[in-house]
């Protein structure tokens, strides 16, 4: 039943760290020498050595609720590759090596192949988007991600008319991820979207949090963020993007198909078979009253932007 997924990246294909560092030295030298206009090099996203992301624009559509603290976001989350406890990712993710990093692009697209993280980020200007995050376990946070629209990235690969869906695969490496030794989910972790969902302006690629490079436990160095879907849809530490004409497998759906569907849109009217999705615990408030649950909003409050993706679709059946 369990299928082994070939990530398909040969060690020889990965840019050696020395070459990658040399390139950075070369680029900064070129900037210093005035060969490359510095304004351009700042506009483009790079991975700064000190972790501080610069030239981050504020996105006007950000959530107006009070954002959770960096500490809260980075210390309480699910990332099963580092353990199933909420504190496990923060404790164990230091072993994740995010540089060098490359992403394999495959399937129904004109531009496929292996891209270094630098190649992926290079043309994109960074923006900060404060999104609500609703976990399927009925807790939620408000998170200031830094990144760029997923649509802008997808367009660069020129998906063909065969590309009806896009699948994201997370790194699957026992030496860096203690949790993948246990068969708790189908590894590598895989998630997917329809191409229309991926092209929706809300779909986001995050590389940072609170103006800094993503902490490892939050899916460094590159992840997607889909604020109208339950959190597990937003694949972390992505190593492969695959365009396909058939609905791709998703790890949680494979684990419990009656509980986790392909769409997994936040929907207060469609309960999880075991618990209610009508309300959620918004974490991080102050005072006793903040402990009480709040109503969950349809599409996590992003219906205006995404509801049209699902016209005519029975959301109770397509959970």
């Amino acid at each position: 039943m369990r299928k082994r997924f070939d990530i398909g990246i040969k060690p020889s294909e990965i840019t050696p760290e020395s070459a990658f560092l040399n390139r950075r030295v070369f680029l900064s030298a070129a900037v210093a020498a005035g060969l490359v206009p510095s304004i351009m090099s700042c506009e483009a996203a790079t991975i700064p050595a000190n972790g501080e992301l610069t030239d981050v624009k504020k996105w006007p559509g950000s959530a107006t609720e009070k954002a959770n603290t960096f500490e809260e976001i980075a210390s309480y989350n699910n990332y099963y590759e580092f353990g199933t406890g909420k504190g496990d990712p923060a404790e164990n993710a230091h072993t994740l090596k995010t540089s060098p990093w490359s992403v394999q692009v495959s399937g129904a697209a004109a531009k496929t192949g292996t891209f270094t993280l630098e190649d992926i980020l290079q043309p994109h200007a960074l923006e900060e988007r404060i999104y609500r995050l609703r976990c399927v376990e009925a807790w939620s946070m408000v998170i200031p991600w830094v990144g760029f629209p997923l649509a802008d990235l997808v367009k660069r690969f020129e998906p063909t008319s065969q590309a009806k869906y896009v699948q994201f695969l997370t790194l699957n490496d026992r030496t860096q991820m203690p949790g993948v030794r246990y068969p708790v989910l189908e590894w590598p972790y895989r998630e997917g979207l329809t191409i229309a969902e991926a092209m929706n302006p809300l779909a986001f690629v995050a590389v940072g949090l609170y103006g800094k490079v993503l902490p490892n436990q939050n899916g460094a160095p590159i992840r997607v963020v889909l604020p109208w879907k339950y959190g597990f849809k937003s694949a972390k530490s992505i190593v492969r993007i695959h365009f396909t004409d058939t609905q791709p497998q998703t790890s949680w759906n494979m684990a419990a198909p009656n509980e986790y569907g392909f769409y997994s849109n936040v929907n207060p009217e469609v309960d999880h078979p075991r618990w209610s999705q009508a309300t959620e615990r918004r974490l991080g408030g102050g005072g006793l009253r903040s402990l009480a649950r709040i109503p969950t909003q349809m599409f996590n409050g992003y219906g205006e932007q995404v509801a049209s993706l699902y016209t005519g679709l029975d959301l109770a059946k397509n959970y």
Partner: protein, 227 residues
Amino acid sequence: MTQRSVVIIKTALWAACLAPFALLVMQAFGYAGGLGVNPVEQILNVCGKTGLNLLMLTLCITPIRRSTGINKLVVFRRLLGLFAFFYLSTHFLTYALLDLGLIFTPGTAWSTLLVDITERPYITVGFTALVLLIPLAVTSTRGMQRRLGRNWAKLHRLVYVIAVLGIVHYYWQVKSDLDFAEPLLYAFLLTVLLGVRLQHYLVHAKPAVPAPYPRVEPPKAKEKTTH
């Protein structure tokens, strides 16, 4: 066991049983690292698990008493059982009052509570277990024990049902096939504890009516049952 050692052990048990609650109170006021990012979950987990642990401990008393012959051990059982009731009540009250918000918005929270209890199987079994614990807590006094006589022991056998329901409640809210290790460990422990009792019963039971001789007649192959 001298009266003095009973007092010492009881004092120690009181302290040990209160410790998780005391820690929660300290954390609620920001000490000892605080309650973490999800305080409600933390309180629910600590109270639920401590309650279940204490319930398991009460079930350990009889097998240990029988195998060691220290009959006096039974004097510690009520203390453990009442603390189990305390933690499991706190577990429920945290969910009802804080999580659902019964103290803030009684109207909506009350209807959610009713829906949860009637429609969410894991809450139904958990709530049933707690309700069944109430008569046991109420009849735990020496006076009630005397008054109920032999029925007291019969009534308190409910604890077996309660323990099973408690573990099912735990098992049913685990996210997927993955985190089953802990509830399964409880299930295993409970199986052992109940198995030991069954074995004791089979070995020592001397029924008032003569036991029927082992049935030797072979089962009638084609007999039909009409009911």
